[in-house]
Amino acid sequence: MSILEYNGAAIIAMAGKDCVGIAADTRLGVQAQTVACDFKKVFKMGDKLFVGLAGLASDVQTLDQLLTFRKNLYELKEEREMKPKVFSAMLSSILYEKRFGPYFAEPVVAGLDDDGKPFLSAMDLIGAPVYTDDFVVSGTCTGNLYGMCETLYKPNLEEGVTSRELKGRQD
C-alpha cells in the first residue's frame, strides 16, 4: 500500500487555444471502500489560476489552505496578482521545504498568464516541476490518462472542444 494511493485521484489539465482546462474526479476512498462522491480536488486560486491536488486527502486539503494563505499574503505585500509561473515556483518551494517529511500530494497547476497564454505545470511530492504546453496528469491512474492524452490530444483546440476532450478523458 502506498500513501499516495490511499485515497485515490485522477487529475488532468490541458491547454487549448488561449485557454486551459482542468478536471478531476470527486471520489474519496479509504483503499477500496468509497467514502464520499463529492470530494473537491481542484481549487480556484485566482480568476485565471487553478491547482489540482492528487494524493493523500488530508494533505490535499492542507495544501489548499497553505497555498491560499501564501498567495493572499503575497498579493497584500506586493499589491499585485500572483502569476501562474510564480505560483508554481512557490508551490515547488513549499513542497521541497518538507523534503524529508513531505506532503503526500502531487499537484497540477493550470492558468493563464498576463498575455492570456496558457500555463501548465505538474510536480512530484517533493516539488520537482515539469512545464508543458500540452497536457499534465496526476493521481492513481496516470498510466491510463497519459495513454488517452497521447492518442487523442490535439494542440490549439477551441475552448468548447477542449472541455469536451477533458470530459472524455475523465469518463
Binding site: K83, K85, S88, A89, M90
Partner: protein
C-alpha cells in the same frame, strides 16, 4: 543639541520625553559626516554616484567599494560607516537570492527595499543592538511594470522612493542642485554628467 539627549540617548530602547529615539538620530549623524552620495532617477534608469575619500596616499585607489550589486536587476550605494554598509548589502543580496529561489522571478524593488528597511529597523528595537550607521540607496528595475526605482533606506529603517536624493557631507548642496534639474527629461549619460 548634543547635550539635550542626556540620559535618554544611551540605548535605542529608550524614547526621549519629546518622543525621539536619540540613538537612531545619532546614527544618521554618522551618515551625515561621511562622503557624499547622490542618486538620480532619470528617464531610462537610475544613476548612483558616490564620493570616495582617500585619507592617505598609501591607500590603493579602487579598494573599499561603495557601490554594490544586489542582484542582476538591483544595485546600491552605501553612505556612512562602510562596515555597517557591508552588513546591509549582504542582507540585501541574500534577500534577493531567497526571493528568486522561492518565487522563480527577480524580486520587485518594493519587496527588496521593504525587506532591507525592515532589517535596518530591527536594529533600532533591541537594547543589545545598535542601529546601522549607514544609508543605502537602492536602484532597481521592476520587470513587471518595466520601471526603474530609486529608494533610500535610512538608519531608522525609513525607506522612501525618490526622484533624486543625496546623503553624506555635501547633501544640502547636492539636493539644491538636484531640485533645479529636470530629471525626466534626461537619460543616464546626461544624468551622470550632471
Amino acid at each position: 543639541m548634543a547635550s539635550s539627549g542626556s540620559g535618554y540617548d544611551l540605548s535605542p530602547t529608550t524614547f526621549s520625553p519629546d518622543g525621539r529615539i536619540f540613538q537612531v538620530e545619532y546614527a544618521s549623524k554618522a551618515v551625515a559626516s561621511s562622503g557624499t552620495s547622490v542618486g538620480l532617477k532619470v528617464s531610462n534608469g537610475v544613476v548612483l554616484v558616490t564620493e570616495k575619500l582617500l585619507n592617505s596616499k598609501m591607500l590603493v585607489p579602487g579598494s573599499s567599494r561603495r557601490l554594490h550589486g544586489l542582484d542582476r536587476h538591483a544595485g546600491c550605494s552605501v553612505t556612512g560607516l562602510v562596515s555597517d554598509g557591508r552588513q546591509l548589502v549582504n542582507r540585501g543580496r541574500s534577500e534577493a537570492s531567497n526571493y528568486l529561489d522561492t518565487y522563480g522571478i527577480r524580486s520587485p524593488p518594493s519587496v527588496l527595499c521593504d525587506r532591507l528597511a525592515s532589517f535596518a529597523h530591527y536594529f533600532t528595537l533591541h537594547g543589545a543592538l545598535r542601529p546601522f550607521g549607514a544609508t543605502t540607496m537602492v536602484a532597481a528595475y521592476d520587470e513587471d511594470v518595466e520601471e526603474y526605482t530609486l529608494t533610500m533606506i535610512e538608519p531608522s529603517g525609513q525607506a522612501y522612493r525618490y526622484f533624486g536624493c543625496a546623503a553624506g557631507k555635501g547633501r544640502q548642496g547636492a539636493k539644491t542642485e538636484i531640485e533645479k534639474l529636470n530629471l525626466q527629461g534626461m537619460d543616464c549619460s546626461e544624468g551622470l554628467d550632471k
